[in-house]
Subunit: 402 residues, 2 copies
């Protein structure tokens, strides 16, 4: 079984807009192992909505948000009635509810508000604890349509009460799920390694998500044995890149590993300008292990603050594995920490040479036990090079601490 | 005429997800007065996508994003070919492009990547300046399908080159447009001040977009006189908050102002962990004015590196206007710059007190001409407090330099 979501509202088709209710709905449905088959935004136009409802005719559960207000362009009630081929019927008790709500705010409803007291014949009103627009529930032939207001707070408040009885009637059970976070690898490498997994399990209960320099694998299944077999196969295929499992983030893992060793950390950044530290401090409680850092954008700062030798800068250049390591050591020494990270590179668009093209980044980690240094060549524009530098610094760091 | 947008990707149907490419597309189409008739997200399933393409058969322009990668679940090429009833054809030149791109990164493509060299027969490849997934353009019977990668940076970069020839062929003329970036204000304040504008011009050619601590106002009109009148009215309504007009960013403006004065800049950050510096270095060529910074997450770093007096920290606390100013001055002194920025605060979720609740952030700017310090109380979670701290530090900075 599957569900579909329709967001009604011309504002959702305007520049820069993003629809969020569908993501909230997906979270509720996931608890019942009920995936969304699609997420559709349409303008405030009755006929467009009727056509979409017709298109979604085979879907057993359609949830709609928006278009339930009092104004002329709130047309969800009309569209649903037309699609179902039933008339709209006036409900005196709903009108009294609206009047009572207005009275509580010391106001009188206008005639416009009376529109909200009409429902498709045979529909059930869903009470709205936060506003005057009641929701609409319609069931017919084993199929269900649920209309809720578009205002996110009202949508969220009404969703669970509207869906819970349906889910209970369907006897839907919760499912097993987990996430693997991979780092230090590319998407196509991961796909290549996952071939045995796909051959054995297909891709139905599996999602691969790449972004911000990390790759996440989601796996879920209702059957616990099947789920465990899938988990195990994934571990076998991509073990070398798995940084975290479940809810843990890379920042959280770094914090946990440092706490475990009783070490603290400092960073020396150049081309990332502080983005590595900024990523770390997204983690609450990171102050227990992260003392701070120096952003050494100018060479003289590398010399003065991080004690990188001027001769090294001259001979090897500011962007070199040797300088990255000197920065990592310098940060640890200057901040009195056990662990140091050094990042230096050419983010572009200018500053590249034949020997060191734009995208060249050198990253070093220095701990009391191990020092690791790597030279990377990242493709893409300036923000992408910076983002990949941060992601790979985190990767080098957790591997050095593990 | 109208256009439709399809976002392909199972991740867009997951809890909490939001689709953003459609909002970017709407912005581009608006330039040509071309509205979106719908915005649809579907999972990585060929047949679901084919059904949706059939549903959208009457729409003359359909733009798709996502599903062009190298992996098994990237099925946009397959779905489009099936819907159009044409075979997929191998393009040797595309495969050579992919190999060349990998070679630049010092890697070899895997066999999986070869999928990206197949296009529906009769389709035209659209070059991707930022990745290996080329786009797909297909025209038939006065209708057009444009497939672009789902990665937002790639989608954005490829959108204009892909659409411009189509729009030219349709003889759709671009219109007058500009953007105002406002900083140091809230959305409801801006709405309040814009009331005279709305009364005079309505909201048809106007969009207000809030995000990442700044508010952007877009205005466009086909008629130059009307457009100039709208621009003028906006300036009158919100002059005090306008930081940039047109394409300029706040980072770019800071760079320009510093260059104009012949000054350089250093930053001292605490609760933002380097995010202020990271935001600055998104601007190419910022190295001419930004020497670097210190992330003083631990108090002893504030004392040692920034010469913040221990007595000040004791008496006023690490989060105080006095400490922020001492950090700004300390950064400028330590790095030998004319201008210093200091940021200190409590990003949460822990560490708040009755006197200084979570969200308290003090920001200072020190220049040879002026020193300004402000204490803020930001609402929201840890990432939001950090983001607003960075945005308001930039605001304080450009105002001090202007």
């Amino acid at each position: 079984m599957r569900a579909a979501f329709i967001a009604v509202g011309s504002e959702l088709l305007r520049p820069g807009s993003r629809e969020t209710n569908g993501g909230v709905l997906a979270g509720h449905l996931e608890r019942y192992h009920l995936p969304l088959e699609g997420r559709y935004s349409v303008p405030d136009e009755r006929d467009a909505l009727v056509r979409l409802l017709e298109f979604l005719d085979p879907v057993p559960l359609v949830v709609l948000s928006g278009g339930l207000g009092p104004t002329q362009d709130d047309l969800t009630r009309e569209a649903l009635a037309r699609y179902l081929a039933v008339p709209l019927v006036y409900h005196e008790e709903l009108w009294q509810d609206i009047r009572a709500a207005f009275a509580r705010w010391g106001r009188e409803p206008t005639e416009t508000n009376r529109r909200q007291a009409f429902l498709p014949e045979g529909a059930e009103p869903l009470p709205n604890p936060k506003g005057t627009a009641c929701g609409v529930l319609f069931e017919r032939g084993g199929k269900t349509w649920v209309c809720l207001p578009g205002v996110p707070a009202e949508f969220e408040a009404m969703l669970e009460p509207a869906l819970a009885p349906l889910m209970a009637a369907l006897d839907l059970k919760p499912i097993f799920r987990t996430t693997f976070r991979l780092s230090g690898c590319g998407e196509s490498q991961v796909e290549e390694n996952l071939k045995p997994f796909y051959r054995r399990f297909g891709s139905d209960h599996f999602t691969i998500l790449a972004g911000a320099g990390e790759i996440r694998l989601h796996v879920h299944h209702a059957d616990p044995d099947r789920f465990r077999a899938m988990e195990e196969e994934i571990r076998e295929c991509v073990q070398e890149w798995i940084a975290c499992e479940g809810e843990e983030t890379l920042e959280g893992k770094v914090r946990r590993l440092l706490l475990g060793r009783g070490w603290t950390l400092a960073a020396a950044e150049s081309c990332t300008g502080g983005a590595f530290g900024a990523r770390l401090v997204r983690e609450p409680g990171i102050s227990a292990v992260f003392k701070g850092g120096v952003t050494a954008y100018a060479d003289e700062i590398k010399t003065e603050f991080l004690a990188v030798e001027p001769r090294l800068l001259e001979e090897k250049g500011a962007v070199s594995p040797e300088t990255a390591l000197a920065m990592a050591r310098g940060a640890a020494r200057a901040f009195g920490t056990e662990v140091g990270v050094g990042i230096t590179g050419i983010a572009g668009p200018d500053g590249g040479t034949t020997e060191k093209p734009v995208g060249t980044v050198c990253i070093a980690v220095s701990t009391p036990c191990v020092e690791s240094v790597r030279r990377f060549l990242f493709g893409g524009d300036r923000p992408r090079v910076q983002m990949l530098a941060v992601a790979n610094a985190l990767d080098l760091l957790w591997r050095a601490l593990a």
